[in-house]
Symmetry: C2
Subunit: 208 residues, 2 copies
């Protein structure tokens, strides 16, 4: 069943999914209108839907709700996922305090930190545990995804603990570059986003 979609197609479908979420289900969109909203050419959107197996609906635009359901059918985005956060620093605690509101898709169920004091002092609705309990708690709480927000030197061991607990995917905000053949890992690094941005600007006159 799981036909292997091109990575970029997956990425674009995620983007489209996002704008559809914030839209009335009854809204009717043509591929070109949708394209303007997400900065993707209309023919690319149509091709993406085509290779993803979109069945013929009508030749008068897409109903937002139907598209949403179609993408859900592909990726099961409507099933809630249980997420934990490792590292309760500035970034980590922002995930715990401002939980991601995406139609309840992601539920933060645990936080971890090596600093026991921090765990005891900080008050939060999400239960916090010491880092060494990570693998057990992940198993016990049936956690699907992990967010790593620890310093670089602790990133590798954190990933190992998460793997040991049976986690399926990791979003890594630490400066370390993580990767694994068994689980999906995505590295996000703010400075590098800035750097990539500048590399894409053709003729940047430096400010000084």
């Amino acid at each position: 069943m799981s036909l292997q979609l091109p990575v970029q197609t997956v990425s674009r479908l995620c983007l489209i999914y996002r704008v559809l979420l914030g839209m009335d289900r009854e809204t009717v969109l043509s591929s070109s209108k949708l394209g303007k909203l997400v900065n993707i050419p209309a023919h690319t959107i149509r091709k993406d839907l085509s290779v993803a197996g979109k069945l013929k609906s009508s030749n008068a635009g897409y109903k937002a709700g139907e598209l949403l359901d179609f993408i859900n059918g592909l990726f099961k985005f409507d099933a809630p996922l249980r997420v934990c956060v490792a590292g309760i620093g500035l970034l980590g605690s922002s995930f715990i305090k401002n939980p991601v509101q995406e139609g309840g898709q992601f539920i933060i169920v645990a936080g971890f930190d090596t600093n026991i004091n921090k765990i005891e002092v900080m008050k939060s609705d999400v239960p916090l545990y010491p880092a060494y309990e990570m693998a057990d708690r992940i198993r016990e709480l049936k956690i699907d995804l992990g967010i790593i927000a620890v310093p670089a030197q602790a990133a590798e061991i954190t990933m190992q603990r998460m793997k040991e607990g049976g986690i399926k995917g990791i979003l890594n905000f630490s400066p370390a570059i993580l990767g694994d053949k068994d689980i999906a890992v995505r590295n996000v690094h703010f400075a590098e986003e800035l750097r990539f941005l500048t590399a894409m600007i053709p003729d940047l006159e430096k400010g000084d």
Copy 2:
């Protein structure tokens, strides 16, 4: 001069640049050793360097410092860039309080917010200004890049103000999807990173 490199090549060179930064300049790396550090196949690294115009150095590995210089020569990463942050919320102020330490490449020189109280109350080394002054201040302070960390509904006007001030690139953390034909824009959305991650996991058994 600016030969048009494939986007993915640029992205990989940025990643390589990052690991090289945290390394002694004298370290000698083969393409395969480097590849293991960044999770990129060795032949892809060699091809990237080749199309980027790497001139023959030796057939016994790369010296970290030389590679660094080579990538700098391509993208001018050593010239410092002046950056501003729009939206002094949790995320925005984290950029101001914990400035990105990437060899001094990025210097945060201003923060903006519509909430005047916030600007007056918050103390920071970085000067803060009301949002309506944005275009003028950007011009005056010769700001190159902008980070948008405002709510979705304010994102578009913020981008317009930045453009008006003559900014060259924008890193957008708001939930809005921004794009522009004149300037480089990069959208980063945490929930979507998580969603993309789950879409890439082949057979994810949902936790509940």
